[in-house]
Amino acid sequence: MSTPAQQVVEGLKALMCDAVPSAREITFAGLSRAAGGLSRENWSFDASWTDASGTHSYPLMLMRDAAGTLLTTERSREFHVLKALKGSAVAAPVVHWMDPDGRFLGAPSVVMERVSGSCDYMVLNGSRPLPERLKLAHDFLELMANMQKFDWQLHGLGERLGVPQKSPAKTELHQWEAEYRRVQIEPHPELDYVLNWLDNNAPDAEAIVLVHGDFKPGNALIEDNVITAKLDWETAHLGDPLEDLGWITNPVRKSEHQIAGHWERAHIVAAYSKLTGRKVSDAALTWWNVFSCWKLSVIQLTAVHEFVSERYNRVFQTPSWLYRPMFHMMSGAR
């Protein structure tokens, strides 16, 4: 019986032969599974091959859907977004191949360039000096602004990702509500209460932009003091510009996104307005903050569902720690 690593090598070879039929002398060196991927398996390796156009050698990453996952995602979404972003002002890995239905690798997978740098969830509150952390915080926001300026229509992403036909807030809410109902294994009156509030108070969007969907330092690579790549585009979609801004100003994740006294909600909103020229409605942003917590709750319930279905190897609980902050924000918005 072959090991998981051997299965990955076999799958990669088959995928490559399908994508590059003239490829020969294919070698994959240094294959190893990186720790950390919560929603998928991340395999690192160096590939070389010869084809009709010459000899090639690349450091690559394979992202393969895990058997159990925190996020139900589509590899093809990530593949097409990364293809569109190539050469843009948004730092992102160059994507090579895709196995959309897992025909070669057993689960939907994408192979992309391995970008140098480290991923640090807590980089904004880590050991770096404050000026460096503030620069990175601003660079993350600028990256978001560049993403929102990206001409998705020109690059055909409307067809690939779907353009919201009603309010993007309602569209996202209803998609996540469907996920909530799919993974719910017991009644959660708290989440139904918040859902009802979100449904009755959804804001309209000022524009439709490319949204990352999980914008955080933990989804980026940093080398020295520079963001070398924004990763994990599998939840990218077209939506409200305030969605990603709501994610990073969400008070329950301050330690990841904010720097106390220097880079808090008001600073972030002011810098965002300067970068994008958009005025930010506080009520609308608060709605997205509540939505962020509610979505986070649903992601945790997905993990619970997958754990009890014996497909996920980490233990999660009902996200009761999120209820109080959601109620607090809802009360302030009334």
Partner: protein
Amino acid sequence: MRPTVEEQLQGTCRILETVVAPCVSDSYARTILDNLIANLRMLKVALPKVAGFVRDDNVATLSLLLAMQPALKTDLVGRIDTAAQAGEPDVADGAAIEERNRLLRALLAEAVCSPDLTPEIRRSIETHMINRAARAPMRYVPNAPAIITSTPET
């Protein structure tokens, strides 16, 4: 009955930490193992509190539902009355207590979406939910990776 459930969980954690973990060199497997040990430690503390928590929650949830009745539709009011009349299961019947909790929380999930809730009822709902969350004995044990390098791990 010795070893108690808590003692067995405690001992299992100790064995996993001191005997098994040092032999696990694969970083992914080690991350998973650390998460499991942390969760077992949480369970050791939480387990003795679960039954009492669910019993108390049934009483508090029913009380809230009865107070909400003026803001609810007739059909839902009738189902709450039926649940109230059924009474609490025997204290030794854990499964029945859990099932009643599920029923009462399903009724509450429906009730909190009523369009006729007054600000006072909303406050009562939120107070109930915050108190319940504060007392919930089982907690997520975060064990997220801090730094992940993009270079291959051996």
